[in-house]
């Protein structure tokens, strides 16, 4: 079986992470922001899997499982917040929620 340079796997993770970051910083629709966050989390999970396969260990997969759990909980809470926000402000624009300023 051919080999894959570990660099390539990590670079892929870095690219996905950066794209996710752009999404978080750019989008005003909070649902898109949450989706971009999922991309970033997934990218870090990918980095763990790449590292695990470099050593041939199972620990990386366990870390991925933890990230998965975190993502699930985060999405559940985040979507709950979105529903509440939409109920109160009738919008998904996060710029509307800028009352907490100095």
């Amino acid at each position: 079986m051919e080999s894959i340079p570990i660099e390539h796997g990590l670079i892929l993770a870095a690219i996905l992470f950066s794209i996710g970051l752009i999404g978080v910083l750019t989008r005003r629709n909070i649902v898109f922001v949450l989706m971009s966050l999922e991309i970033m989390l997934n990218a870090s999970g990918l980095a763990f899997i790449v590292a695990a396969s470099r050593w041939g260990h199972a620990e990386g997969q366990i870390m991925f499982l933890m990230i998965l759990t975190l993502a699930a909980a985060e999405v559940a809470v985040g979507l709950g917040l979105i529903i509440q926000m939409f109920r109160r402000y009738k919008t998904v624009d996060i710029n509307e929620l800028s009352e907490m300023k100095g």
Binding site: L97, S98, G102
Partner: protein, 616 residues
């Protein structure tokens, strides 16, 4: 039993705590029982301790209760020192104090702050006992400041009237000048002698300092500053007349019988220090004499019954200072005791008069009260006779001893004696001026329905009357304290001089009689001369001392504070505040409320962290 000496200040202190913690929720009857009872218990204990001490024949007794603090070699303890001097003081304080407390339960009965009054009074007695029983100067200073605090609280007791608050602050600040001087004196003593235990200090000073050496003079002068402030002597005397703003029992207890004599006690207690500084001791005599005369002249012109008594107090304490100055230590303490009796009597009687005529204090609006107020009349008669040193009353013996001691002194003794006799002459005039105007002649305003008082008000008056009459026969056991350097007790003066000394106050009384009772001389005619008007104004204002201090100290200080209104030092702290505000205004802009902005900050932080990680 002597070991129980610590109970003396403890009883009133517990009374104070009980009254303060219940803060006026107790019924007045129980407050009175706690307030007067705690001092009564103290007196009983003091009496038992005194009999045992005198029977034991020891010179002194020390009881260390616990160590207060221990800082290096500085280890003042809560220790009590009992000798003849503190014995007399503790009996006077608890005895006269108890009578005045008893009187106050009647005098203050209608006051809404009854409980507060007694809590302050009890705290005062506790502090005063601490002052006279402390075996080191730190404990003495604790009591010293404690009585100062109580004096302040009680002068301003009726605080709703701003004038009373002003009088309280004046008393506090003026005595503070003396207290600061005394504190510096304590520092000096500790720095030079390494101890503040009174007996050790005295022995060390005697051993280490030559007579008339600079350090001895400095230490004695600084202590004298404290004594002068507390005892209302020249030049810190201005607070005492205003202190009469407090309730009358306070004037009797604090501003006549006990606290103001603390200065006399301090000098007597540290008399060895004054003996090795003869120039300061002579200064004490001169201060005493000048105060006697100044206060005597002022008292001639006053119209407020309590102010007259206040100036007479000043004058009598001046006699005590005179005695201290000529080295007649036991005469000073003797006069302190007899003065406590008859001045407490006069003040309490004036309290009854004031209550009976509905809080009128101007003697020219009284008059003819002899029939209506028989108890006050008797009290005033006996008190005034004792005050003017009428033969065989208590004041006669003590004042006689002081004047004879002055006469026997070498050098300026004769001048001091002449001054003292002149003071006695003035005492005769102003005391009976008050007496005749208040109790004889026509009533000019307030006719009392009946005399205020019950057994708990008149009882103390009767007891004090007896003490004022026979107090001169009490022998105070202070020989062992002053054994050293005491002017000898046996006086050798001709009968002529003695007769003269007895006659002078009587002449004063007669002059007063001619002016104010028989009206053979007219006061109006005297006042029509311009010079006497000027003198009257000058004396009435207390020799213009308040005016002088206003010009010398108060106005320059106000002027300084005015030009430095935008405080120079404050501007530095204001800068810190401004800097913090400006930084806040800057950083607060980063808090935009936009989540994306925060996310961007996090990303930027990440970039910076990775950069640092890579570079390092």
């Amino acid at each position: 039993m002597l070991d129980l000496i610590w109970l003396l200040p403890t009883y009133p202190l517990l009374g104070f705590l009980a009254l303060v913690l219940t803060s006026g929720r107790l019924p007045k009857k129980i407050v009175g029982i706690i307030g007067a009872g705690s001092v009564g218990l103290s007196f009983l204990t003091a009496a038992i301790i005194a009999t045992q001490f005198l029977a034991g024949g020891e010179d002194y007794f020390v009881k260390e209760v616990w160590a207060w603090m221990a800082v290096g070699s500085f280890t003042p303890g809560f220790s009590f020192y009992l000798d003849g001097l503190s014995l007399v003081m503790m009996l006077v304080i608890t005895g006269v104090g108890f009578l005045i407390h008893l009187y106050a339960t009647g005098y203050m009965a209608d006051d809404p702050s009854f409980s507060r009054f007694f809590s302050y009074m009890n705290l005062f007695v506790a502090a005063m006992l601490m002052l006279v029983l402390g075996d080191n100067l730190v404990l003495l200073y604790l009591g010293w400041e404690g009585v100062g605090l109580c004096s302040y609280l009680l002068i301003g007791f009726w605080y709703t009237n701003p004038a009373n608050g002003y009088a309280a602050r004046k008393a506090f600040i003026v005595t503070r000048v003396g207290d600061t001087s005394m504190a510096i004196g304590l520092f000096l003593l500790f720095a030079q002698l390494g101890t503040l235990n009174i007996q050790d200090v005295l022995h060390a000073a005697e051993a280490e300092w030559a007579v008339g050496s600079g350090l001895a003079i400095a230490a004695a002068l600084l202590l004298l500053g404290g004594a002068v402030g507390k005892s209302a002597q020249l030049p810190l005397q201005t607070w005492l007349p205003d202190a009469m703003a407090g309730p009358t029992p306070i004037s009797a207890l604090i501003h006549a019988a006990t606290m103001v004599t603390a200065g006399v006690y301090l000098i007597a207690r540290t008399h060895i220090l004054f003996e090795i500084a003869p120039s300061v001791q002579l200064l004490v005599a001169w201060i005493g004499l000048i105060t006697v005369l100044m206060a005597g002249f002022i008292a001639l012109t006053q119209s407020d019954i309590k102010r007259i008594l206040a100036f007479s107090t000043m004058s009598q304490i001046g006699y005590m200072f005179l005695a201290l100055g000529v080295g007649a230590w036991s005469a000073a303490i003797f006069h302190l005791m007899t003065h406590a009796f008859f001045k407490a009597l006069l003040f309490l009687a004036s309290g009854t008069v004031i209550l009976s005529v509905h809080h009128e204090q101007n003697i020219f609006k009284m008059g003819g009260l002899r029939k209506k107020l028989p108890v006050s009349f008797a009290s005033f008669l006996i008190g005034s006779l004792a005050l003017t040193a009428f033969p065989f009353t208590s004041g006669y013996f003590s004042k006689d001893e002081i004047l004879l001691a002055a006469l026997e002194m070498d050098g300026p003794g004769t001048i001091l004696w002449v001054g003292g006799v002149l003071g006695a002459f003035l005492t005769g005039i102003y005391t009976f001026r008050l007496f005749f105007i208040v109790f004889f002649g026509e009533n000019k305003g307030h006719v009392p329905e009946n005399e205020v008082g019950g057994i708990h008000m008149n009882g103390p008056l009767f007891l004090l009357m007896i003490l004022s009459l026979v107090g001169g026969f009490i022998a105070i056991p202070v020989e062992s304290v002053f054994s050293h350097g005491e002017v000898h007790e046996e006086h050798h003066v001709s009968t002529l001089i003695h007769g003269f000394m007895i006659a002078v106050p009587l002449i004063g009384i007669v002059i007063s009689y001619l002016f104010f009772y028989a009206k053979i001389f007219s006061i109006e005619k005297l006042m029509s001369i311009p010079i006497s008007q000027t003198l009257h104004r000058f004396w009435f204002s207390g020799w213009g001392m308040d005016w002088l201090y206003d010009r010398l100290i108060v106005f320059p200080f106000l002027w300084l504070s005015k030009i430095n209104k935008a405080d120079l030092i404050d501007s530095f702290y204001a800068f810190i505040v401004k800097f913090a505000r400006a930084s806040n205004a800057m950083i607060v802009r980063t808090q935009t409320g936009y989540i994306r902005w925060y996310a961007l900050s996090i990303a930027a932080g990440l970039v910076v962290l990775i950069s640092i990680g890579v570079l390092l």
